[in-house]
Amino acid sequence: MSDWLGPQEWMAVQLSLRVAFWATLVTLPPGLFIAHVLARHDFPGKQILNGIVHLPLILPPVVTGYVLLLTFGTRGPVGGFLQEFGIVFAFRWTGAVLAAGIMAFPLMVRAIRLSIEAVDPRLEQAASTLGASRLWVFLTVTLPLILPGVIAGAILAFAKAMGEFGATITFVSNIPGQTQTLPSAIYAFLQVPGGEDAALRLVAVSVVVAMGALILSEVLARRVQKRVGGA
């Protein structure tokens, strides 16, 4: 493997995995929260929240990256604030996580929201008559029932994070070992004549990794489904 991939590409593979993993993990709690809010609550501004969540999907990634740079960069309002607490995104792999996470967010929210909407509210009612508060109902009834959807959302997010390029490179640019993810490396190879072979190797790695994650998620989801599902 290390023969086949140069050390720099190897680093990119590792970094991409790390970024995708953390992007998925970090977006999961807010994804659950927002999905629940959108699925089960009505409030003024709901459509606006929904729109904001979908923005990264609609905007060209470059624009998203630029917006991230403006807000989470060291000179940005949020970035500057967080910097005081030692949290820095600019030019760090954490920034790549942020970018990938934000790009993946709408996919995750949609998947989870659909699952929540499919949960029979009568089961949640039953739980509440048994004494479970809203939070407990969510944790003990809703969450286990939407697990297949959460897994689906997570894998979508992971896949998206593995493939994300435009926003990431715009926000944290491409620093080998720190922010150079697989797609950045692939992109670079494709920019120069004759780089196709090297790009192809990296594409193959991407595909293998993502397929692995996909199969894992299917197995997990199926196990969960079997517990809950039909005869």
């Binding site: 000179r75 715009t170 491409n174």
Partner: protein, 232 residues
């Protein structure tokens, strides 16, 4: 007649001006498809309906000529550019390139992809030529194109960046703090050529219009520098 021009996106402003003038003068219709040179080159290789290719670098032009996708004798260098070091306007002071590594410290040097995108390749070559590359390499933040590198400097995220003079000129938030001597890097040129099999009177008319003074005014206005003899 309708002429389709596949051109590097960085030529957009100049070409749009040229296009409207040419259309008025010649009566031909001009369609501009603006994208990255690599995309355009591959598309031409695979049969895109382009008549003229304007590349931002020599590499893709060479490859297409080599493949026979372009008409050999039609190639010429349209314009050139200069490479400059920029800093955010607020803390801009003229400086010596050799002190870059020291001044940079922990800060980032924004460049386009140093192995893939022309501005990055030129920049890296220049730094290597000046013996500075080793010192700054770990600090380089590579953007996917030169405009993104410029944005990093303009927003103050990177204290320095290496970009084209043409871009630096139009960005009010940055100042040029040093210019790379021409001999430190391969010549920066934007070559043009007719796509193989697309040689028609109208296309030729456009190619010669591009070489003319009127077109040159437009390129010069965008900060491009002259190449070859035509405009010296």
């Amino acid at each position: 007649d309708r002429i389709t021009v596949f051109a590097a996106a960085s030529l957009k402003n100049a070409l749009e001006q040229v296009a409207s003038e040419f259309e008025r003068a010649s009566g031909h219709q001009l369609t501009l498809s603006l994208a990255g040179s690599s995309s355009l080159a591959r598309q031409i290789e695979l049969g895109a309906p382009a008549d003229v290719f304007l590349s931002a670098n020599v590499g893709w032009m060479d490859r297409l000529l080599h493949n026979g996708a372009l008409q050999e004798d039609s190639r010429f260098d349209l314009a050139g550019n200069k490479l400059v070091l920029v800093a955010p306007r607020a803390d801009a002071v003229q400086m010596d390139l050799t002190s870059l590594a020291a001044t940079l410290g922990e800060g980032r040097l924004a460049m386009a992809l140093v192995d893939a995108v022309p501005a990055g390749i030129y920049g890296k070559a220049a730094m290597e030529h000046l013996g500075l590359w080793k010192g700054v390499a770990p600090q380089v933040a590579q953007a996917d194109n030169v405009r993104a590198a410029l944005a990093l400097v303009a927003l103050g995220e990177a204290p320095f960046g290496i970009v084209y003079a043409s871009d630096a000129m139009a960005e009010p938030r940055v100042s040029v703090v040093a210019t790379f001597p021409t001999e430190t890097h391969p010549p920066i040129v934007y070559p043009a050529a007719i796509v193989a099999g697309r040689d028609r009177a109208a296309v030729r008319a456009f190619m010669s219009y591009l070489r003319g003074d009127q077109a040159w005014t437009a390129f010069a206005a965008q900060g491009f520098t002259p190449v070859g003899v035509a405009h010296e």
